[in-house]
């Protein structure tokens, strides 16, 4: 088991020009590590669909890696996305599943299959050529540069301690830079990076 910081700090250190899509319990913690223009929070958005959004970005920008920091609860809602990512050839997708066995945002209620679901095995069965699971921070940090290189899609499950994140919003009291803009403004800011 690792902390969120142990999951995110090595990724922030390795990250260069990858797009990073965050959702749920990783949105604010990632913002503590990164204020990159290519960060996008799937917040105030559709439940469970961050990975689908990331697949779309990966297909639109095939020369760039797209990292998605998905939750286990979110992943369970759209398991078909594993098949979709492979079928559409999202070879530049690196899909993290932050496995804390809980719906953290709503108070850490247990997710179905807590402690039993093997997302890496599911990904391999869906056709992911590379799927890995890490519970300890050191081997994860050592493997991370290689996980971000080469063809995928790649799935990385991280066993992470549940936190205490509260429901997400935009503007208002949110302090993370990528939550300070309205959802439509943030989406347009992102598109302008690719279509000036």
């Amino acid at each position: 088991m690792m902390t969120k910081d142990q999951a995110l700090a090595p990724l922030a250190a390795c990250r260069t020009d990858e797009i990073v899509v965050t959702t749920m319990g990783m949105v604010r913690p990632w913002a503590a590590h990164s204020t990159h223009d290519l960060d996008f929070a799937s917040a105030d958005s559709a439940m469970g669909h961050a990975a689908d959004l990331a697949v779309g970005l990966a297909l639109a920008q095939p020369a760039r890696k797209v990292v998605c920091l998905n939750g286990d609860g979110s992943m369970l809602m759209t398991l078909g996305t594993l098949v979709t990512a492979v079928d559409n050839g999202a070879r530049n997708l690196v899909l993290f599943v932050i496995q804390n066995d809980a719906y953290e945002i709503t108070g850490n209620q247990r997710v179905p299959g807590a402690g039993q679901v093997d997302f890496a095995a599911m990904a391999r069965a869906a056709g992911f050529p590379r799927a890995h699971a890490f519970a300890d921070p050191a081997p994860y940090a050592a493997a991370l540069p290689e996980l971000l290189r080469g063809d995928g899609p790649v799935l990385v499950t991280l066993r992470v301690e549940p936190g205490r994140e509260s429901p997400l919003g935009r503007e208002g009291k949110e302090t993370a830079a990528y939550l300070r803009r309205s959802a439509p403004d943030e989406v347009r800011r992102f598109r302008r990076l690719f279509v000036p």
Binding site: A46, A50, D52, L57, L59, T81, P184, V187, R191
Partner: protein, 178 residues
């Protein structure tokens, strides 16, 4: 009925890059005609809800996708539509085939506007039809109808309307494409 060839020519004029969805009988001809298109990519999904979020990602990444789904798939996509194209005001045309339209028009002469358990469970009613338009209105997605090639101007206008409104819009296809 609308011809796949004419719709694809329209897609070309409008700069469509990707068509995302799940085929049905009404869209089958269009999906078949799109296979092998030199510029427009067909993106398959396992459920229609995925299509809305994938479309948003494609648009954010600089492409110009359209959705092509059946109304049954729209029904399962409520939160996906709400949380992506609607919430983020993504200007994408959603082409929705209207299962039950023909059968209901033949049986009732109109799409019933009174929804109750008796109507929605009748064996001679495809209950997709009476639910479709109230659902679109409830979810705030404006819509028009594409019945035949004579209505292709409606589809062409939808592309202009999504750009002007900076928001999504639906076009309901009431007959099988050919």
């Amino acid at each position: 009925m609308a011809s796949a060839r004419a719709i694809i020519e329209l897609f070309d004029r409008q700069g469509v890059t990707d068509v995302i969805g799940v085929p049905d009988n009404s869209s089958a001809a269009l999906y078949s005609a799109l296979a092998g298109h030199p510029r427009i990519r067909v993106r398959s999904v396992t459920r229609e809800g995925e299509a809305f979020a994938m479309a948003m990602g494609l648009w954010m990444g600089g492409r110009q996708p359209v959705l092509l789904i059946q109304n049954t798939g729209l029904f399962e996509s409520g939160d996906a539509l709400r949380g992506t194209l609607t919430r983020m005001r993504v200007p994408i045309v959603c082409i929705v085939t209207y299962r039950g339209y023909g059968k209901t028009m033949r049986g009732f002469g109109k799409i019933p506007d009174q929804l109750d358990a008796e109507l929605l469970s009748r064996s001679d009613v495809d209950n997709c039809a009476p639910i479709t338009e109230p659902t679109l209105r409830a979810w705030g997605l404006p819509y028009e109808f594409l019945h035949t090639d004579e209505d292709l101007g409606v589809l062409e206008a939808a592309f202009q309307q999504v750009r002007e409104a900076d928001a999504p819009r639906a076009v309901l296809v009431t007959r099988d494409t050919t």
